[in-house]
């Protein structure tokens, strides 16, 4: 079987239909000379056959992985499962169209106990080595073995409490080592045998990622997003780069322009001493572009340059994932940014002004834009917000509070608009999103999956509202000392990130200047 190598010096283009959009873009970034960790891709056409248990496909999978790992070993100089220079890989999904967060990924594959020792030898940083093992056990345990992820988070929370520290970040090396051992014990208590052979790990991980194509949430998303014609996911195996190696490392997500307002400035979320999943999962609140400017100005400048180059290369606003390992920037993903209708309009006009698009091209791009959604709601009066969070998807929403998808459906059925109020969001909440007028979460950043989905659906969304404490089981929440019950009215401003008790009065505005510009193009560009 032909696997596709990425970052092997080739400049060949690959189609999203063959290797998935994510891998195709990764290959394109590498071909453009951007720093991309080496990777290889098992194609989409293998997906259905693997899910069906076809024996030829299984054989091809094993052959492809063996060949691919040999490629990664030779390009990184590390070896899989080694006690000296271990190679760790991520096993990622990627369909022909982006399905953010709906398919599975297994991280730090190859992190056997021998590899933990090898990571200590490589870095002299045992906490980092055990942290890799912890992340591996979490993702392998939940994705491949099907253990409920909350069991891991509970163990972690218990240990954080027992050690008397504020967060997982503050756990010391001894505690993290103990945590990984307790994770392993938990896996074994469920009668699973955790393979300590890296090839066995990667085979199981690749199969699980292919299988995630058929999960309920992936099917639901394809239905909602009209992606039912897709054939499956590819599997990308990439050498891990480590944002968790220390304070000169980190992981983040960036947009080349503001996907919410359309403003022509990058939006960057970064978490230092962290891995990418910490940023996108929305489980911690990231720092913004000021933080990276301050602590890593050179990286910040390189990142901004890269974002601009990517806009040129792809001809559209980009949404990227990056990792900084010991002061070196790595690009892990780029894709056309999801955006609000208003941002789409602003981008089109700015791209024409900057000479990146002709008016005709810009008009084509705006073909799918729902102009009715350009009208912008504003609060008619100045109200005092009860709390503030981070604005993640612009717009005003007014609705009755509910704390889970089920009650959202119940209240919506009564005809009133609904405000989904959650401690955090996981992509499991998609059903609730679809019917909510707006979304509020206690933690998470602008680049959390939830924020991405909210923007795509055009729903106003405020994340990272620290004054909010949600008691899902009790169907209530506390917000800045006020008591919020199910069915109470709330108003949010998804741009300012403000939250108001009750039903605020709303007025409606339109981007008249921009619309006039579009009209002018239309009159100048001959119809054909």
């Amino acid at each position: 079987m032909q696997i596709v190598h990425i970052a092997d010096g080739s400049t060949e283009r690959h189609s999203a239909e063959t290797i998935g959009a994510k891998a195709a873009n990764l290959a394109r970034m590498a071909a453009a000379g951007l720093p991309v960790p080496p990777a290889f891709v098992l194609p989409i056409r293998l997906c259905k056959a693997i899910v069906d248990g076809d024996r030829h496909a299984q054989q091809k999978l094993v052959e492809g992985l063996t060949e691919g790992i040999a490629f990664l070993e030779s390009s990184t100089g590390r070896s899989f499962g080694s006690r000296r220079q271990p190679l760790l890989v991520s096993v990622r999904s990627g369909a022909a169209r982006s399905m953010p967060g709906m398919l599975d990924t297994v991280l730090d594959v190859g992190c056997t106990l021998a590899a933990v020792h090898g990571l200590v030898r490589m870095t002299g940083h045992p906490r980092f080595a055990w942290d890799c093992r912890r992340r591996f056990l979490e993702s392998y345990g939940s994705v491949v073995l099907g253990i409920d992820r909350t069991k891991f988070t509970h163990r972690l929370a218990e240990l954080v409490a027992a050690e008397g520290v504020a967060s997982e970040q503050e756990l010391d090396v001894e505690a993290v080592e103990r945590l990984t051992k307790s994770y392993q014990q938990m896996i074994e208590d469920e009668d699973f045998v955790l393979p300590d052979e890296p090839m066995e790990q990667i085979e199981a991980a690749a199969r699980a990622v292919y299988r995630s194509w058929t999960s309920d949430r992936a099917r639901t998303y394809r239905q909602l997003a009209h992606l039912e014609s897709l054939h499956g996911t590819a599997v990308t195996v990439q050498a891990m780069v480590f944002g968790n190696r220390g304070l000169d490392s980190g992981a983040g997500v960036a947009f080349s322009r503001d996907p919410s307002t359309g403003a022509a400035r990058p939006v960057i979320d970064v978490l230092f001493d962290s891995q990418g999943e910490d940023v996108v999962s929305g489980s911690r609140t990231p720092e913004t572009e000021q933080a990276i400017d301050r602590s890593a100005p050179a990286i910040s400048a390189q990142l901004r340059q890269t974002l601009a180059r990517l806009e040129h290369e792809f001809g559209d606003v980009q949404d990227v994932e990056f990792t900084i390992e010991s002061g070196k920037l790595w690009m892990l993903q780029t894709r056309d940014a999801k955006r609000t209708p208003r941002a789409a309009l602003r981008f089109a006009i700015d791209f024409v002004n900057e000479g990146l698009l002709t008016p005709r091209q810009a008009l084509v791009r705006l073909n799918d834009l729902d102009f009715s959604k350009l009208t912008r709601k504003r609060l008619a009066e100045s109200y005092e917000p009860v709390a503030r969070g981070t604005g993640a998807s612009a717009g005003i929403a007014v609705g009755r509070a509910c704390f889970d998808s089920e009650s959202a459906e119940r209240i919506a059925a009564g005809g009133d608009p609904v405000m989904l109020v959650r401690p955090d969001t996981s992509t499991a909440d998609v059903a609730g999103f679809a019917i909510a007028a707006g979304i509020v979460t206690a933690i998470g950043g602008r680049t959390a999956h939830a924020a991405l989905v909210a923007r795509q659906m055009g729903k106003p969304c405020v994340v990272g509202c620290t004054a909010l404490a949600v008691d899902v089981a009790g169907h209530r929440a506390g917000i800045s000392g006020a008591d919020l019950k199910e069915g109470d009215w709330l108003t949010i401003d998804g741009e300012a990130g403000t939250i108001y008790l009750g039903q605020c009065k709303v007025s409606i505005e339109q981007p008249d200047a921009e619309l006039a510009e579009i009209e002018r193009w239309r009159s100048e560009v001959p119809a054909n």
Binding site: R55, V120, G124
Partner: protein
């Protein structure tokens, strides 16, 4: 019970030869029993006449002649048309039972003929007039034994008809021995499949070491070939394999869920789709009749792959015998999960655990521990606690391998025990490596305080606020934890009589941690405004401390690999020593620069004092780490000379 489970699994085809066999035996019995009835009648009619002796016939048919003798000799007539004999009711019940067995077997092979026979049997039973216990009319006897054309159906006629049917079925399902399997009704294509399976069974049969089991039957029925194996002959432990044109399906039942999972994992090299592990119940089993059912399907139309799979299944079954017993024993020495890891390894390497059990199981390990390490491993202490997880697992693998080899090669048991002891001693000598893991943990803790200090200085440089009190508190917690680790390490070093250099190494890192904690304490009291050039040097000092702690961890990890390792391990350890000494030089230079800046500059007293104290504490930490480096070098060189 086993056949009951097989029936419950809907696999009666495979049972047909057994049913036919049983029915033919019933045919033999019923003829003897009818003869006994005749002998009794004869004795009743003429008690002084010569009886006929059926002793040999009884024995051949599996009937106890001793109970039959009193029946015949005690027979007498009542009123001229009835006979009574002690045990007669039991005898007639056995006769009905034999005929029922025959009819059921016929039904399993030929449903219509079997049902017709059962109907006839019911009719004959219904026509019998009930009599008192142990009594029968002579007319009824005639009806049982006779064959008169005019007198309607008789039992004997039914028996003869059934015998004929059984012979016909038996011919159609002629049982033969194929590569050690009892097979019948095979087609030409089935033979390689059965042979492949048996090849596997024979490859590992020797590893069951006298335990009964592994008998195989195979039959063709319609579109599939069915293979069944007895495994270890325990109830509800059944494997049935159906071979079809495009797939092999394995149906497996087990009362032990972990063993069922273990079984499925043995086939991970094949793309088998497993489903189930359903909880089932069957009457008459121990454990409340609960067992687990799992089904695996390998879709394949490739004969080679099919045969490899069948061979692997055949070769794997011996590893299921006494599996739970072996697991329980291993669990007293290592964790539950590692016990399964060892058993999995033993199966994959065709070593198995039966040899281990034969040679004494737990006692084998206990005596090695007792002889090799009386003081070093406590009574009841788990091996993974004493040797480390990897070494304990490795040692137990050796125990299983050596046991199997000794029994297979007919070597002496004494020699096997000696080899096992020697391996344990070898692992104990490697315990030093385990102790070095503790040092890695300590070096990690030192790095964490140093990194916290570095962050503090960076924030001061950026003029941003920093919670230095929580840094000091955290450093104190880490220092206390490191103390505990050091105490534990010293105890272990003493217990294992380890290299005393390791103790000195432990002390050196602990000293470095103490100094860094002192630095964190001073930082909590230091004024905010410090001259930028002094801060730059403090940042260098922190970087030197981080680099020293990292070199310590990397160096000790490399040193742990030296005993079994390669030259690169020695080189890496010595390179780390160089980095440690280099870090000390950098620390020293930065500390001197700071002294100069403070003494030449115009510092407020509190600031001057705290900056100097801070610099000295960190510098002393790099100094301790350099001392660590010297000890590490001594140890590496000592390892090389051994």
């Amino acid at each position: 019970m086993k056949s009951a489970i097989v029936e419950q699994l809907g696999q009666t085809d495979i049972l047909l030869p057994a049913l036919i066999g049983e029915a033919l035996a019933a045919n033999d019995r019923v003829k003897v029993r009818l003869s006994i009835v005749q002998a009794a009648t004869r004795h009743a009619r003429d008690p002084s006449g010569t009886g006929f002796d059926l002793t040999n016939e009884c024995r051949a048919a599996g009937i106890d002649p001793v109970t039959m003798e009193p029946l015949v000799r005690g027979a007498g007539l009542i009123g001229g048309d009835r006979m009574t004999a002690p045990g007669l009711s039991q005898l007639t019940a056995a006769i009905w039972g034999d005929v029922t067995t025959m009819a059921r077997a016929v039904k399993a092979g030929d449903a219509a003929a079997g049902q017709a026979a059962l109907d006839r049997l019911t009719a004959i039973q219904a026509s019998a007039v009930p009599e008192a216990a142990d009594t029968i009319t002579l007319a009824q006897i005639a009806k049982l034994v006779g064959l008169a054309e005019t007198d309607g159906d008789s039992l004997h006629r039914l028996v003869m008809d059934l015998h004929k049917s059984l012979n016909r079925l038996s011919a159609a399902h002629a049982e033969e021995n194929l590569a050690g399997a009892h097979v019948f009704g095979l087609q030409a294509d089935d033979r390689p499949a059965v042979e492949a399976f048996m090849r596997g069974v024979e490859q590992t049969r020797g590893l069951k070491f006298g335990h009964p089991g592994l008998a195989t039957t195979a039959a063709r029925s319609g579109a599939r070939l069915t293979i069944q194996n007895d495994i270890g002959e325990t109830d509800a432990h059944v494997v049935v394999i159906a071979v079809e044109a495009d797939a092999v399906t394995v149906t497996y039942t087990d009362v032990h869920l972990p063993r069922a999972k273990f079984f499925t994992r043995l086939f991970r090299d094949f793309p088998v789709q497993w489903s189930g592990l359903d909880r089932m119940t069957a009457e008459g089993l121990s454990d409340g009749g609960v067992f687990y059912l799992v089904t695996g399907r390998l879709a394949t139309d490739n004969g080679k792959q099919r045969d490899e799979f069948l061979e692997t299944i055949g070769a794997s079954l011996v590893f299921l015998i006494d599996w739970n017993k072996a697991r329980k024993i291993l669990r007293t020495w290592i964790s539950k999960a590692d016990a399964v890891v060892v058993l999995d390894w033993a199966a994959r390497h065709r070593v198995g655990h039966r040899g281990f059990l034969e040679l004494g199981g737990s006692e084998l390990v206990a005596s090695a521990v007792h002889h090799a390490t009386p003081q070093r491993i406590g009574f009841g202490e788990r091996l993974d606690h004493a040797l480390g997880r990897a070494a304990a697992v490795d040692f137990l693998k050796t125990v299983l391998r050596v046991s199997a080899e000794a029994l297979q090669e007919g070597g002496s048991v004494r020699l096997a025990r000696d080899r096992i002891e020697a391996d344990l001693v070898r692992h104990l000598q490697r315990v030093d490596s385990l102790l070095l893991e503790i040092v890695v943990r300590q070096a990690g803790l030192a790095r964490e305080i140093a990194a916290g200090m570095a962050q503090f200085i960076a924030q001061l440089q950026a003029g941003r606020p920093f919670d230095r009190r929580s840094l000091a508190a955290r450093a104190q917690r880490i220092e206390e934890k490191a103390d505990k680790i050091a105490i534990e390490a010293r105890r272990e070093i003493e217990r294992f009589n380890a290299d005393p250099t390791i103790g000195q190494i432990v002390n050196r890192v602990e000293d470095a941690i103490d100094e860094l904690e002192q630095a964190a304490f001073i930082s909590s009291l230091m004024p905010d405004a410090v001259a930028p050039n002094a801060l730059d040097r403090l940042a260098e000092l922190c970087a030197a401390a981080i680099s020293g702690a990292e070199a310590a961890a990397a160096g000790i990890a490399a040193a742990a690999d030296i005993p079994d390792g390669q030259r690169v391990d020695t080189e890496d350890a010595l390179a780390a020593v160089d980095r440690l000494i280099e870090a000390e030089h950098r620390g020293d230079a930065a500390e001197r620069a700071i002294t100069a800046i403070v003494l030449r500059g115009d510092f407020e007293l509190k600031t001057a004092l705290s900056v100097l104290e801070l610099a000295r504490a960190i510098e002393r930490a790099t100094d301790r780490l350099a001392g660590f480096g010297h000890l590490l070098r001594a140890r590496v060189l000592a390892e090389l000379s051994t």
